[in-house]
C-alpha cells in the first residue's frame, strides 16, 4: 500500500464529519470501490480512537468524535476494547522495557561493566560551575511556580478532557413551581465526576448557546459558553458537561441563553432539577 500523506488526514476529517459536503461523494465512492482505501480507513479509525483515549484531540475534534463518530454499538465496542488494550499495555510496560533492553543490546556490550556514574548534581555544584548552578535554581523556581499555577487553574476550570466518570440525564424546560409542578430528580452514582446534561431545545435558530448553573440561593456554580445544538431522533439537544464531584445535593436551575446570527443574546426557558447523592 502506497498512500499519499494527506490521504490519512482526509480520512480522519471524513470520520469526524469535518469534510465539506461537495468533497464527500469522491471519498464515499472510493470507500466503497477501493479496497486499499477501505483498509486505510480502518487503520485511521483505530488511530483516531487511540488519540481520543489519550486526550490528543482538539476540543472541536473531541466533540465531533463523541457526536459524529461514536454513534454505533460497533464503534463503542472498538473504543471499549482500545481502552482495555491500552490499560493492559500500561500494566505490562515495566516488564517489556527490561526485556527489550537486555534482548536488544548488541553482543559484547552486556559483558562490559559501566563505569560508576557521577552524581547527577555534580556538574551543577557551584564549585564546578557557579553560573550554571544559579541559572538552574532560577529555572527550577519558574518551573515549580508555573506548574502550581497550572494545577490550580486546572482545579478551578477543569478542561473538557478531564470528564472522568460521566452520568447522563436529559432535561426539558421547566421544573418545580409554587403550585407543585413535577421536579426532575437526578440521582448520581458514587464517584461520578461529570453530569452530562442533554437539554432539549426547540429549533436551531441560534448560532451558539451559553449555559449558567445556579443553586437554590441564586449563586452561580458553573457556566460555559459556545455550546452548540446537536440533533438526533428528530429532536435538538444542547449538551452541557457539568463537573459535579464536589457539588452538594440540592435544587439547581440551568439557565440557557441563545446567541442569534446577528450576535444578540436571548434568554431561553431554564431547566430545573434536584441533585441527589
Amino acid at each position: 500500500m502506497n498512500l499519499e500523506t494527506n490521504q490519512s488526514e482526509t480520512i480522519r476529517q471524513y470520520l469526524l464529519g469535518l469534510v465539506p459536503d461537495e468533497e464527500l461523494p469522491a471519498i464515499d465512492e472510493r470507500l466503497v470501490t477501493d479496497g486499499e482505501f477501505y483498509d486505510e480507513l480502518l487503520i485511521v479509525e483505530s488511530e483516531l480512537i487511540d488519540q481520543y483515549l489519550s486526550d490528543e484531540l482538539s476540543t472541536v475534534e473531541r466533540q465531533k468524535f463523541e457526536s459524529h463518530f461514536l454513534v454505533t454499538p460497533e464503534r463503542l465496542a472498538q473504543v471499549r476494547f482500545a481502552k482495555s488494550f491500552h490499560r493492559y499495555l500500561d500494566d505490562k510496560a515495566p516488564a517489556i522495557d527490561s526485556e527489550s533492553v537486555v534482548d536488544n543490546a548488541p553482543d559484547g556490550i552486556r559483558d562490559v561493566d559501566p563505569p560508576p556514574p557521577k552524581p547527577w548534581y555534580y556538574s551543577f555544584l557551584p564549585l564546578q560551575n557557579p553560573v550554571l548552578a544559579y541559572s538552574f535554581v532560577a529555572a527550577l523556581v519558574l518551573i515549580v511556580g508555573g506548574l502550581s499555577w497550572a494545577g490550580w487553574n486546572k482545579y478551578r476550570n477543569p478542561t473538557p478532557l478531564d470528564l472522568g466518570k460521566i452520568y447522563i440525564a436529559e432535561l426539558t424546560p421547566g421544573g418545580p413551581t409554587r403550585s407543585g409542578g413535577e421536579e426532575k430528580k437526578i440521582t448520581l452514582p458514587t464517584g461520578t465526576n461529570t453530569l452530562e446534561l442533554r437539554l432539549a431545545v426547540a429549533g436551531d435558530e441560534y448560532r451558539s448557546y451559553r449555559a449558567v448553573l445556579v443553586e437554590q440561593s441564586g449563586s452561580e456554580v458553573w457556566k460555559e459558553a459556545n455550546l452548540t445544538a446537536n440533533s438526533y431522533a428528530g429532536a435538538k439537544f444542547v449538551t452541557a458537561n457539568v463537573p459535579v464531584r464536589f457539588m452538594p445535593a440540592g435544587l439547581y436551575r440551568l439557565k440557557l441563553t441563545g446567541r442569534t446570527a446577528d450576535n444578540q443574546l436571548e434568554d431561553l426557558p431554564s431547566y430545573a432539577f434536584r441533585l441527589i447523592r
Binding site: D28, L31, V32, T72, E74, S84, R87, N104, K165
Partner: protein, 186 residues
C-alpha cells in the same frame, strides 16, 4: 425501504455476476458488504447493516436488466445504488443517531476483558506479540523512536509496520470479543 430478503436464486445470480469462481464471489460479496456498512455508518444512515443489505437486494433485482450490458468492475455499481439509498435515508430522516455515551464499565467487565487479553496474547506468535506490544507502547517521542527501531529490526517500512500492527490488533479484538461472549462455566 424494501425489506424483502433475496431469494436463493437471486442470491446465486448475484454471486455469479460478482465472480464466476464461487469462493472468490463469496469473498467479494463480503468485501463489498463490509465497505457499504462502513459507508452508511460514516454517512449516518442507520442502521447501516440494513442499508447495506438493501443495496445488495436492489442490485440483485436489477441484474436481469444490466448483466448483459454492464461492463467493468462491480463495486462502482453498488456505490451508485447505495448513494440513492443514502438520499432516501435523508428524505425519511433516518440520518443521525444519538451519540452513545461512553459510561464507566463495571469492574467485573474490565477484569474479564483483561483476562481475555492475557489469553489472546498468548495465542499470538512471538513476532506478532512483540509487534503489538512494542508498536502501541509509550507516548509521543518515545513511541516514534520505538516504532522506527522495530521497523528496522523487522526489515520493513514504517507504513508496513503500521498495517501489520493494526492487523494483529484487529485479530486481538476479535479474539477478545469471542472470549468475553463465552458463557462462564461454574
Amino acid at each position: 425501504m424494501d425489506d424483502q430478503n433475496l431469494t436463493p436464486e437471486l442470491f446465486e445470480q448475484l454471486l455469479d455476476w460478482l465472480n464466476p469462481v464461487r469462493e472468490q464471489a463469496g469473498q467479494e460479496y463480503e468485501n463489498i458488504r463490509r465497505r457499504l456498512i462502513k459507508y452508511f455508518t460514516c454517512r449516518r444512515c442507520f442502521p447501516p447493516e440494513d442499508a447495506a443489505d438493501e443495496t445488495m437486494n436492489r442490485v440483485a433485482k436489477k441484474l436481469a436488466e444490466i448483466k448483459d450490458s454492464y461492463v467493468g468492475p462491480r463495486p462502482p455499481y453498488f456505490y451508485k445504488v447505495a448513494s440513492l439509498i443514502l438520499l432516501e435515508c435523508r428524505r425519511i430522516k433516518t440520518l443521525g443517531a444519538p451519540p452513545i455515551p461512553l459510561t464507566a464499565e463495571e469492574q467485573s467487565e474490565l477484569e474479564q476483558r483483561h483476562g481475555c487479553l492475557d489469553q489472546c496474547m498468548e495465542d499470538l506468535s512471538n513476532e506478532n506479540r512483540e509487534i503489538v506490544l512494542e508498536y502501541y507502547q509509550q507516548e509521543k517521542r518515545a513511541k516514534i523512536d520505538r516504532r522506527k527501531r522495530l521497523a528496522e529490526k523487522l526489515g520493513i517500512s514504517l507504513n508496513a509496520l503500521r498495517i501489520r500492527a493494526f492487523r494483529v490488533r484487529a485479530l486481538l479484538q476479535e479474539c477478545v470479543l469471542l472470549c468475553v461472549s463465552r458463557p462462564v462455566l461454574k
